[in-house]
Structures are given as C-alpha cells and as structure tokens.
Symmetry: C2
Subunit: 283 residues, 2 copies
C-alpha cells in the first residue's frame, strides 16, 4: 500500500463493480422513496421494485464472487471503503444480523415517535395509533409502517435472528480457522528457514493462492447468508414495510460511507492538510 | 480513501509507530538469531533478550492504545498493511491462538526433519534424536529445540490453547455487538430521516465518537490477550525454545508483510503497471 495510486486490473474491476453498486443503490433509494410517498401505495408496483432490489443484490454478490475467485484479499478491507466502514466489516460485508437489528431499530423508533405525538397532544386518537398503528402517513419521511409489525411477524423475525446468529457463528469459526492456517505449515515454517525475508517461494505462493481461494469461498458463503437474511425479512414484512426496510438499509449503508469520509476529512483538515472537502457531503 | 496520499497527523503518528515497530522487529530478529547460533547458548543472555522482546511488545501495545484513544478505526484495516495482512486481521492484530498454532507447527516440522534424517541415514543415533531430541545444532537454521517439548510442556500449551480460544471468543462476541450497534439508534434512524445523505449531525458524530472509543477499548483488550498469550508461552518454554519461538513469530510477521507486497506487485505488473518492484524483497 506504499503506492496506493497504482492498482491492478483486478482491483480496478472490483472497484468499478463497487462504484456501479453504489450508484444503483442511490437510484433505487430515490425510487423506493417515491413509491412509498405515493398515496396509493400500489402493492404490485412495490412488489416489483422490491424484487428488483433483491435481484440486484444477488447480481452484485455473483459479480463479487467472480472477481474474488483468484484475488479475494482486497474484499476483506477494500481500499475504496472508509476506515470506519472497514472497522465494521464482517467477512467482506455487513453482518447479516445487523439487518435484523435495523428492523428492530425502525420498529422501536416509530413506536417512540407515535408515543411522543400522543404525549404532546394528549389526543386519544393518537393513543390508538400508538397501540395499533391504525393510520399511516401522519409522520413525514415514511418508515411509519415499521411500528405496525404484528406479534406473528415479530415472532418470525426473532426466529430468523437466532438462526442468523447461529449461521454467522459457523462462518466466523471457519474464518478463524483459515486465518490461523497461515501460522502453520508450510507458510510459517518456510518463513523460519528463509535467509532473506520475503524471498519468493513456490510452496508459499501455492499456499497463499489456496488461502485466497478458500477466503473467496467464505466470502461467497457470507454473501449467501446476507442475501438469505434479506430475502427472509422481506418475505415476513408487508410490501410497504419491506420497502421502508430496504430504504432504511440503503440509506444506512450510504450514510455510513459518507459520514466516514466526513470524519476522515475533518481529521485531515484538523491536521492542516486536505482538499476542499466539497465532494464529501451530498454525494 | 479516494485520496489516500493525504493522511492526518494522527494517521502519520500511527504509521510512524508501526514503522518503528517493524524496524525493531528486524533488529531483534538478527539478535535472536545470533544468540541462538552462539554455541554456548548462555541462558542468562537469552533470558535478557527475551525479556526485552516481550517488554517491547508491551510498549508497542501501550503506544497503539494511546494513539487509538480517539481514532481507532485506522487500526482495524491499516492502510500501511498489505491487503493480505488485512484479510488476516482479528481486532487489529493477529489472533492470539495463532501463536500457539506456531508452537505446534515448529514442533511438528522439527520432528519431521529429524525423522527424515533418520530415514535417510538409517543411523540409530539419529533415531534417538528423533525420540528424545538429545542433541542440538545438528540442523542448520536453528529451531531444533522446538521438538524437545516435554509432555508437561505440551499439556500446558494445550491448556493455554483452550483458555485463549475462550477469551478470543468473548472478544469476538463483543466486537460483533459493537459493530451491530451502528445499525441501531441513533445512527440508523438518523440516516433514515436525513434528506441529504451524509449531512453532518451532532447525535451521529457523538455516537461515532463513542463507537471509536469503544473499539479502542476492544483493541486494548485484544492486545492484552496477545501479550498474555505470548508471555505464558515464553514462560512454558525453555530460554532456547522461547528464543526460537519468538524468532519464528517475528520472521512469520515480516515475511507475510513482504510476501503480501510481492503478490500485490506481481498483480500490478501483470496489469502492465507498477514500479520497479525493487523495494519488495529483502527489506
């Protein structure tokens, strides 16, 4: 990384794929917002859009899988991410269980909003809204559908949570095992007997190629779990809720990226360096 | 990371600290090698050197702790690492259990070496060496002490292994929980209600500051576990074994860094770009 301005063809491919994905997220974010603000909230149109969004995630995972087959290391701390994002990574992406955490966060914040409205106005109609979520559209910005989750939906989400954490743990253990393998034969032992540090070695090259291939397999498994978790949540939710949830996920991803850059820019400016910073906000 | 050539004061401090650490590792590597190749193998001198090496790891961890207090994100996928190294990271460093894996690897490879010597020469004296490790210095490059591990030592190493994995798991769970918190209030909910993606927000800034502080605490805990594991291994081993083990650890760390750069350089050259590559080997 001493010369990060030069990147290999494969890294450029990986980065282009990421940039396309981020542009697509911005586009779908706008579409989801429009579809939700449409008073009619036509379920068929929403369902189509949700299917498209999920399908695109699947395509993105397939492309990552293709690009990581030989060179997977880049995906475990991509240079195109901010360091904040990289500190949040789990096997090359977000934790699948954080999707569920987001469902709960949206549900909780909406109930809180309604409760606050009731306490402020002391209007018995608002209490009914708090308890049963009978009306929609009373709060600006959408997302209100998420406090309408039924007991059955919450039960299913909880079931999914337990299953997801279990699957995550399995992949975490496999990841640990692959990482530890590099402290074993042949890599550690070859390193010990080499007179010159970093001298090229066929056995080591082969072992590192295998390591990157195994890590690519793990990345594909993690993406599969992310996709399954996302699909299952969307299936549990109503179309309006699913659209609110997908919108929240996209906004969260894009915001963390932007806030991470803003923090890096602030530190740079505090050090007396840096650019104009105009590219940071509102991307 | 769009403009990685500019880095903040704190990142420069962190990187300088890492560069100093790597230079120190190279220096101690040479000293350990010299001390081990000295036929007298004076235990007192070895003990002093081992104490120094462990003390320096402690100092390095203290400096990282100091530098990560406000800005810890950089440590979870440092820009000064190769992407290979970053794909092997566990909470800002190597897995403590990989130290133990290295003990086993060195022990296994030495026994194998001795067995091969016996099979090649069919000399009954060599068999005695295989079984009891009675002689030293017969194999070039050191490390032979590692096959002399007694049953008691192996028992203690195994006990340490179980305890280390347990502690690692606890920290892994805490790390997962801190990562997931960013998909909750206030960050996720604020992201949802912002009209402009990445617009500065006091509550989010405060939450991200807290997040980085908590992650810094986790990094300190992980460094503490790395240090405890290292110290316990060294206490279980004889001075010669401990010096062989520390030498193997340093060589592995430096080699992975150099091999990672070599692989990045190869990919760059395969893409038709890159530098002379002269800086890669033999650093």
């Amino acid at each position: 990384m001493e010369n990060p301005s030069s990147s290999s063809t494969i890294e450029k491919l990986q980065q282009d794929c990421y940039n396309e994905w981020m542009s697509l997220q911005a586009k779908r974010m706008t579409e989801l917002k429009q579809a939700l603000s449409n008073d009619e909230k036509e379920d068929d149109k929403l369902r189509d859009l949700i299917r498209t969004v999920i399908g695109e995630f699947k395509d993105y995972a397939a492309k990552r899988c293709e690009h990581s087959r030989r060179y997977s290391s880049n995906y475990f701390a991509p240079t195109w991410n901010t360091c904040l994002e990289n500190s949040l990574l789990w096997i090359g992406g977000c934790r699948p269980s954080s999707f569920i955490r987001l469902v709960y966060a949206m549900c909780g914040s909406q109930t809180e909003l309604r409760l606050n409205t009731f306490l402020r106005t002391n209007n018995i109609d608002d209490l009914s809204t708090v308890l049963h979520g009978e009306t929609r559209g009373g709060i600006d910005g959408g997302g209100e559908s998420m406090s309408d989750l039924t007991a059955e939906q919450l039960y299913k989400i909880n079931e999914l949570h337990l299953k997801t954490v279990e699957e995550e743990n399995k992949l975490t253990i496999r990841s640990a095992s692959l990482q530890e393998d590099t402290a074993d034969m042949p890599i550690a032992v070859t390193a010990f007997y080499k007179e010159v540090i970093g001298e090229a070695d066929v056995a080591v090259e082969r072992a590192l190629d295998k390591h990157e291939k195994d890590m690519a397999g793990l990345l594909a498994e993690a993406d599969k779990l992310r996709l399954t978790t996302l699909t299952t949540i969307v299936d549990i939710l109503t179309p309006v809720q699913a659209a609110d949830f997908l919108l929240a996920g996209k906004k969260l991803h894009m915001s963390i990226h932007a806030w991470g850059r803003l923090r890096e820019q602030s530190r740079l400016e505090a050090s007396g360096g840096g650019n104009s910073g105009g590219e940071v906000a509102g991307e």
